[in-house]
Symmetry: C2
């Protein structure tokens, strides 16, 4: 077995830069624990001169990462750029083909090209490790691949995006609007200053769901159409009403097997304030795994930021230094199935529906009649009049109904003069 | 690498018997996932005829487990007897010396002889795996060894014994006494019918603390004297008073580094009902790890029973079948330190003190004077008179004080005619 491992880090943003420092700081400790020597022989980023938190060794700096492959012999590549395609994909492919191990926190890349890259890694007998791509410092992928490997997992769900969880928690605590709290999150470094869209619209959490479902159910990364909703339309008003009902809004990522079919989704969800998941607040992430015979397992930890991410990246490094060759998805590509999609029209939930209406007689019966027409039966109604402007807020909690009924029913509400805007729909957790 | 692995299971109680069935049920799945064939070639227990839940293949049954080594070629031994010494130790030693991998859920054995056995395993280049020895189905040892391997861990604590957690939860829920609830726990199979002592007195949790601390801090298994208290003296009265104070009693196992010294303990602890740990109820286990840079990680799951235990035993089997040779404690025996003991006299906590007294003037001032003498300052007093019998209950919550002050102070209360029995002390969680 090799005794010195040469490392390249490509991408020196928040994560890559922190990782660079951690590896240098912990060099001795890593060598003691694994019995292997390590050496960072190349680093790369677009801009050599950009101000970074920790100082770099400029002598090993490359502006063009592809040049590293031509000029240096490396054993392990850290890809920390973060694109789903382009240069991220290119350098990972190149490395694997050259029998170089790859470690990446890049969920967009893995969720999109994970199968193809895993095949490359297996063919070349090197590791492709991506523990940091899901839930930051929580060793969730390892737990599914190793610790819970013989369980029959039926469902994995949780809070997979720290940014949105922070925003929802902070709106409730501070009583401030979405826009104000988003600004705060950006100032604190929890949300991307430029474009926080991929966090807010659920895309980031959804990429993690795809990775989790492929590991939990041994299926190839699914490309099924699914319900993906973010938190952009969550109003402070809904958070307050939820709170009165002893509920809290969380952006949940869910994957499960229903009738031997695969269902994946990300959407805001009303959960009980007394539930475990209802008490995971701020930037924390939590993942709940239901399996047999193990029962329900919960893993919780900080879901983002350079510290937790770097903890997972280094655990991947350990795996490689210890000489444990793993299949990227636990089992060989050839043995991963394709699971048929569960039709999301049949997804069932209780619904929270908020209507803003003119405070006129007949409006409530109009709403309830239409709900009845689509077989949506009512569990609870809370009507709050606003006498000043002759408007009212009507909140309805329904019994369980299918997604298709909800969609069809809501579409007709858009056309009415007494209903002042499209109703807000939030699903309740079963 | 080998292609067929021959397995022996020694000990066919609840766990061994369930494991035997699981391996047979999941044979195909295991072979698909690991690419290795497995075969159970020997099973052993004291009593061949004992009624068991799942049927055994009597043709491979041995009454004397040592005979297996003489008659069969085996690659993996499951030790499921559970003794800290005697035949358990003997067969594990024999196996390791014969270059046979060992998997065991036996915390008593590992907490007592883990270092010696790990050295044997390392010398013979085989695996000694014991994931199931701590917190049932939760992959906690793997998470520390692999997932969090490069973190500087400073503290690990949690609920490590499902039996006692069930009893405490059930006393609160049902309003029934310790003895009644213990009986219920035994009927449900949560507590040993014959001798539940090792669960109740904290010994079981303490063995787990020893294993956790040796992994988390890379120290040899400590033999330090420590505070170990169980729940045998927890009174329903204390649970009720705690509840009024918005607190809940949990048996916590704790290990941490204080001033570069090692502190390990197990004792009943008052925690807030609003805290995470205060809401882990019933037979659930939970472990909280504080480390840098990862922050705080939480793992929760079912802590006992054949299902969760078998999940962990099979994860160990996977590690071996995948050909991953691991040091039993993550790093080589030679590189594990000996950490000096933190003097438990200096352990600091707020205290809950309950006094049962004669309802006479002067008694309260007697108590408070004595507390003051030992520098125990009072945060809160709740006095509840019982007019019928002229007695009263006085509960005092103190500010933080050292263990030695508490001990010295309490010892003098034993001698007073107005104080009807030795006061009850429960530590509050910091």
């Amino acid at each position: 077995m090799k005794n010195v491992y040469k490392i390249a880090i490509v991408g020196l943003g928040q994560i890559g830069n922190y990782l660079y420092r951690e590896i240098n700081l912990k060099k001795k400790d890593i060598e003691t624990k694994t019995g292997k020597k390590i050496q960072i022989v190349a680093i790369s980023a677009k801009n050599k001169k950009k101000k970074r938190k920790f100082k770099l060794d400029k002598k090993i700096f490359y502006s063009n990462p592809l040049k590293i492959f031509r000029e240096k012999k490396i054993d392990i590549l850290f890809e920390c750029i973060g694109l789903s395609d382009g240069i991220s994909k290119k350098i990972v492919e190149t490395a694997l083909k050259k029998k170089i191990n790859v470690i990446t926190p890049n969920k967009a890349l893995i969720a999109k090209h994970g199968d193809h890259l895993a095949r490359l890694a297996e063919k070349n007998n090197v590791n492709l490790e991506f523990e940091a791509s899901v839930a930051g410092g929580i060793p969730i992928l390892r737990s599914i691949k190793d610790g819970l490997s013989t369980n029959k997992i039926t469902k994995v769900y949780g809070i997979l995006n720290g940014t949105t969880n922070y925003i929802l928690s902070e709106m409730e605590n501070s009583n401030e609007t979405f826009d104000k709290v988003l600004k705060k999150a950006q100032d604190l470094g929890y949300a991307e200053p430029g474009n926080p869209k991929l966090d807010l619209n659920g895309f980031d959490a959804f990429a993690k769901v795809r990775i989790l479902s492929s590991l939990a159910f041994n299926n190839q990364i699914s490309k099924h159409n699914c319900i993906m909703e973010g938190i952009e339309n969550i109003d402070l008003k809904d958070i307050k009403i939820a709170s009165q009902l002893n509920l809290r809004i969380k952006l949940l990522g869910i994957c499960e097997i229903i009738n031997n079919q695969l269902f994946e989704t990300v959407h805001p969800t009303l959960v009980s304030k007394n539930s475990y998941i209802g008490n995971v607040n701020g930037v924390m992430n939590a993942v709940i795994i239901q399996g047999k015979p193990v029962g329900e397992s919960v893993l919780q930890g900080e879901g983002a930021g350079p510290g937790p991410t770097s903890s997972s990246l280094l655990s991947d490094l350990f795996t490689i230094l210890r000489g444990n060759i793993n299949k990227p998805f636990g089992v060989s590509f050839l043995k991963r199935k394709k699971i048929k999609a569960f039709n999301s029209d049949n997804y069932k939930n209780s619904l929270y529906l908020r209507f803003e209406v003119k405070d006129k007689s007949g409006v409530l019966s109009l709403i309830t009649n239409r709900l009845a027409k689509y077989k949506i039966s009512i569990k609870r109604i809370i009507q709050t009049p606003n006498k000043k402007n002759k408007k009212a807020t009507i909140v309805i909690i329904s019994h369980k109904t299918t997604e298709i009924n909800a969609k069809n029913c809501l579409s007709i509400f858009k056309k009415n003069k007494n209903i002042l805007k499209s109703p807000t729909l939030i699903r309740l957790y079963n």
